[in-house]
Amino acid sequence: MTIYSLYILNKAGGLIYQTDPCPGLNKLSANEYLVLAGTLHGVHAIASRISPTAPTPNTGFFGTGKAVAGNCNTSGLKSLETDAFAMYVFQTVTGLKFVLVTAPGTRAQADAAELVLCRIYECYADYVMKNPYYSLDMPIRCDMFDEKVVEVTQVVV
């Protein structure tokens, strides 16, 4: 699985982290990344409302079903597949979104992507939330988190 890009969105849809583990990709401008993140946030919110079935508690990865934010009654947008790339979204119970953009792949890759997102969430919990110099919902600038993300994404590349 080739990981093109990783985005982390705060609960308001602001982009707080973006990295391209795969070298040689064209970069967008900073503003374009923000627009992309905001759009994705909106699409996700719409997707969580247009589910044809009745809203169920968000079981997510941990199946807790409690402390569910208002806009995640359903899991919303979980993955997006195109000919050029695949995108996997993982939303935490607090509304934080981890977005992974990879090369298009099979069903097995979706499972692998879920695992990667889980590992990155773990790193976030450890190296961002336990960092006293980081303020919540602001862009992440933590050296140790950067290193860990590289480690996690290198393993699967």
Partner: protein, 242 residues
């Protein structure tokens, strides 16, 4: 309140330095007398009874462990709210953290002595030599505080009164490195305060500071620089140089 701050014997005017048997260690140079009196109250106040009726069980357990995450969250809030916003510079913040650790050090020495006593040997040893007490900290105190021993104990080559205890991965700063604008800050000043309180209570007056000396793979490797006061070294010389 004044009766709390001045327990029984403290009608004698407080001196600024030294050890008063009624009040304990009087000053480490960083703290004002009131700080030390507060520290004394904190050190002697009964600990919170976690299980009512079994008050002593927590204190006497051999390996009472707490969650590192919970500890780090509390410690971080301490840095941010209690100190970060109210300190004019890094030195002041480190001084405050040091002062916070100081009373814990006094308690840690008592607690470890109490725990290591047994019915056969109810009185534990008091250390009289610098090296002995440092080795005791390096192995036993570190194990009690962090469930591991410190990684190294060194004597300074330049100064006879300086010793270093080295921890490759200090648990309190395991997950965070200060940003570039606070490059010199090492929040293990709190641990340095613990060591300082402990050594003061053990009659080795000194000052301890924490410094970040990173090596490959250990970005937060911390050196605790222990600088003993002259009287300690003179005492050591008089007693043990034959």
């Amino acid at each position: 309140m004044s009766s709390l701050i001045n327990p029984s014997l403290s009608h004698t005017p407080p001196s600024t330095r030294g050890y008063n048997p009624a009040v304990g260690v009087l000053s480490n140079g960083l703290l004002t007398t009131t700080d030390v009196q507060h520290a004394f109250i904190a050190a002697t106040a009964p600990s919170i009874a976690l299980a009512p009726g079994k008050r002593n069980s927590m204190a006497l357990r051999k390996t009472p462990e707490i969650s590192l995450s919970a500890l780090i969250y509390i410690f971080n809030e301490l840095i941010i709210n209690y100190n970060f916003n109210q300190s004019s510079n890094i030195a002041v913040l480190e001084k405050k953290l040091n002062a916070l650790g100081y009373p814990i050090g006094i308690k840690a020495l008592e607690l470890h002595s109490t725990r290591s006593a047994s019915p056969a040997a109810p009185e534990t040893k008091r250390f009289t030599r610098v090296l002995d007490v440092l080795q005791y900290i390096h192995t036993h105190i570190w194990t009690m505080l962090f469930s591991k021993t410190a990684d190294n104990l060194e004597k300074s080559q330049d100064n006879a009164d300086e010793y270093m205890i080295i921890d490759n991965e200090p648990p309190l700063t395991k997950y965070a490195k200060p940003p570039k604008e606070f490059d010199q800050l090492n929040c293990n000043a709190f641990v340095a305060g613990i060591l300082e309180g402990l050594l003061d209570a053990a009659y080795f007056s000194c000052s301890v500071s924490a410094h970040t000396v990173p090596v490959d793979g250990f970005p937060m490797r911390t050196v605790y620089l222990i600088k003993f006061s002259r009287s300690v070294l003179e005492r050591e010389f008089v007693r043990f140089s034959r």
